[in-house]
Assembly symmetry: C2
Homo-oligomer: 370 residues x 2
């Protein structure tokens, strides 16, 4: 009989696959396909970074133009998916709505080719996120405006207001930071589903299911709720101390990989400051965040993670809180598609073992004799 | 830095959790909570075995009656979920429709308590499977008949004909065989999603996504298509030899755990024979299956698995092929709920590592300089 290996809980520290997509390091670095996140944050676009993650290299000008045109062409969502979303009650959680919509998209677009499916699911996500929210609030669906970039369009559909160039640029920076982060719970879920040879919609629906969990994608919304509750920088230290005394989790802090600094958090922090300065409405939100960050670091030595600064940036951009996790999903789906394809390149179905510690050899007793 | 362990592909032979739910062994045994599958197959009911898997022990008479009453009470599906299903195009794959319906159910029933959610998702699955098919084929949804047992009701809704006692009993046997099978890809997917603290609907939606894959739940439908193609016992050997020569997979054979015999397949084989004898329409289907089984064993030493005999049993019962995998899902969801709860009893989020083998330290080159 083959030896059964016992893995640490949560597969912590266990490499389950080879990857060339992204690499995060405990020292606070993150690369997509070998490029530092800082460089991509400063110089790239959402479309270009998406191309990089999907195809493993930066596009030429011609390739990028063609890719952008394809994403625009695919960004419309079939009308029946909106009908489906309308059948969901208004008080529903936006991640439940989005998961159902993506699953319904899979039931609708099963006929198109695999490569079309992969690009169209990426292109349709911004339209879906904005319109799941709009329909669920009784508004008409917004239509993508082909004259705008993907991120400007997305922000426009989310807020109903045409964003300034800097606002659109800021929003795009956050989408770039959320694109991919190796084998977290949702990307791993996508790979397990891919390993059964299920289609990309099934895999992404499962990824959305995992991302809904408060220990995973739900953190940016929870961080925003916490910041709103704390209210002012002066309140930060007492709040954090009380929460820690009650053994409550401080949302937006700590990370399985990053122990001292999450590079995405640092980039987002700087961006929040710039955004507030441009808006000229004062730096209260920034000071609040910084005060919470200091208080948590002093007490627990936990660094803020990307969700902690994403939340106030989205808020400052006028985006509804309920869509924060769906927005995370709409960017991360790019990483999921890359993981899906990487899994299939060297596939074996995930079928782990469990250590059986239950009853053995029980005799069935008929109901009347129990 | 902590040592990174490298797991075999597909986590083959790696125990990722403790479990007390089920135990399958290479020697061809399977137990649910310590009871042999053969005993449960011969003497138990779907409701009783479901109770056993959920709560870890056989119910008393009073407990079982209360449990059956609850399942009946919960078996109605909210009307808006049918509206949602109607928005899906008619040619859709039934697993896509069911996955979307269960996700939509989650978006609808978020307000009820967790225990209610778990029992109602189990109770609603037969209604959903039958009515996703019916609605997708332009028929009106069927309503559960409270005077019938769960399995008789289910078969009635699937075929539109009131089943004989033996037909209902046979169908129930197959539901019992499909209830649970430790950490296969779908149960593992459910546990990964549970580990993020996502709700039971998210976890089951992800389980359905995994079960759609042709390497997993899709096998019973594929086995049926293959049997229909072979047609007669005389054709079995030439078909199998030709398929193997072309390196095609023979559907319904082989199993990661069972190397010589799948105990469920043996029980189902006997049941198929009894069912055909009762119907008095001859044993052609049985002889066809047996001939394929012999041919595959001679050439490849692969045993038939549960899907291979489930397919002709469902066919003989007059069930539409498109619902075979959804039926598997409607039973297996019981195991998923048990795994969901077991995961949460000792939870750590699944966050494995990957071995990074990609590019490092690349310099970002601006678009115009590429």
């Amino acid at each position: 009989m083959a030896e059964i290996l016992r893995a640490p809980k949560g597969l912590d520290g266990v490499a389950v696959a080879d990857t060339t997509i992204a690499k995060s390091d405990a020292d606070g670095t993150l690369t997509y396909r070998g490029y530092a996140i800082k460089d991509l944050f400063e110089s790239s676009t959402f479309e270009e970074s998406t191309y990089l993650i999907l195809y493993g290299r930066l596009p030429t000008k011609g390739e990028l133009e063609e890719f952008e045109a394809k994403l625009k062409r695919y960004s419309m969502v079939p009308h029946n998916v909106y009908e489906l979303v309308k059948a969901i009650p208004n008080e529903a959680h936006q991640m439940d709505v989005l998961r159902t919509a993506v699953s319904g998209l899979g039931a609708t677009e099963g006929g198109i080719s695999s490569e079309e499916q992969e690009l169209s699911i990426i292109a349709q996500m911004p339209t879906l996120v904005a319109n799941c929210y709009r329909l669920n609030r009784g508004m008409e669906p917004a239509e993508p405006d082909p004259s705008l970039s993907l991120s400007a369009n997305y922000l426009h559909m989310l807020t109903g207001k045409k964003p300034s160039d800097f606002e659109a640029w800021s929003f795009e920076r956050m989408l770039i930071l959320y694109l991919e982060h190796d084998l977290n719970a949702s990307a791993f879920t996508v790979r397990v589903v891919a390993s059964t040879l299920a289609d990309i919609y099934s895999a992404c629906t499962a990824g959305l299911a995992a991302l809904k969990g408060p220990l995973h994608g739900g953190a940016n919304e929870a961080a925003m709720q916490m910041l709103l509750k704390i209210g002012t920088a002066a309140n930060a230290r007492p709040y954090v101390q009380e929460a820690l005394a009650k053994r409550e989790k401080i949302m937006g802090f700590g990370h399985r990989v990053y122990k001292t600094v999450d590079p995405r958090s640092q980039l987002a922090k700087k961006l929040l400051r710039e955004l507030l300065e441009k808006q000229g409405k004062g730096l209260e939100t920034y000071k609040l965040c910084e005060a919470v960050e200091s208080a948590v670091w002093e007490s627990k030595r936990l660094p803020s993670n990307v969700d902690f600064y994403a939340a106030p940036i989205f808020m400052t951009l006028g985006i509804p809180i309920e869509t924060f996790t769906p927005i995370f999903a709409s960017s991360r789906i790019v990483g999921w598609v890359a993981h899906y394809n990487e899994q299939l390149m060297d596939n074996r179905i995930y079928r782990p073992d469990a250590t059986y510690i239950g009853n053995k050899g029980l005799n069935y007793v008929p109901l009347d004799a129990r």
